[in-house]
Symmetry: C2
Subunit: 152 residues, 2 copies
Amino acid sequence: MSSPDLDALPDALSGHVGYLLVRLGKHAQRLFSLEIGALGLRPPHCDILLTLSAQGALAQVDIATTLHIERAHLVALLDQLTALGLVVRTPDAADRRRHAVRLTEAGVDTAARVAAIAREVEGALLADLSEAEAASLRSMLRRLARDADEGD
Amino acid sequence: MSSPDLDALPDALSGHVGYLLVRLGKHAQRLFSLEIGALGLRPPHCDILLTLSAQGALAQVDIATTLHIERAHLVALLDQLTALGLVVRTPDAADRRRHAVRLTEAGVDTAARVAAIAREVEGALLADLSEAEAASLRSMLRRLARDADEGD
DNA sequence: TATTGTTATACTCTATAACTATA
DNA sequence: TATAGTTATAGAGTATAACAATA
């Protein structure tokens, strides 16, 4: 048994979209993590910042539902973002069980930098695709993601 | 702050292919995991079985390289597959550092069942795409995966 | 009774270093 | 010296149950 000429990507799996999604998802996550590490953030922190940036104040349960993060896990993530001065939790007068989470001014700035980094990584990831191909890919993936959410 | 009408998929992130890949990869992994749980297997076990099924005997380092699994992690995975009677490690006469890993007869059967399950999950995942769209998606993802491997 | 935020626990995946035996 | 398999450890993501405060 000598080492065979191994394809970088195993043919046995390259035909499965499921496997490709898992593999590319991990790759994208890794690239992105390296870039945002300098900000002291990990991917879920960034998902939260971008979501708050687009939607304004949200209760924790809404953030959790939107991002598919467990409520229980979200607590520590928000504690960390609070310690960094990027978000604040304020009580909701109308329903005192809920905490309104919103970006601070520093949080708004950081969200903008995160968005810029995301665009850079995106460019590197899709470098070999034409504009039309990238648009087609994005459109199909968005449809699949919506289908997946409906199935929950 | 009343609960806003939350899109299932947050608009702030749905435009990023990177985020969609991560999210869909996790979804695909979850669907697949549920199905193969009945076989006592987890995704990396299946990746190994399918790779051995296609390539025959491989040394552990080759499996690890091909599948992007750490050599150190692979040891336990192969121990588990061995305990299930699905693979065997045999010494390589030409290089006694290397162990040839190959499927047993039961392993061949299980690999076939895993492949069938993978096709089912694939069907569910891509249900809303036309044949042409699915082929286009698969082709683009495969290109991106090869690009990613070259960049390593 | 149900929901929100919280604490605690456990399992998987990932990353790293170090050891042994062989080359 | 370098490589293959192994052991051990720690961080990160995920899933679950249970609790207090509030609706």
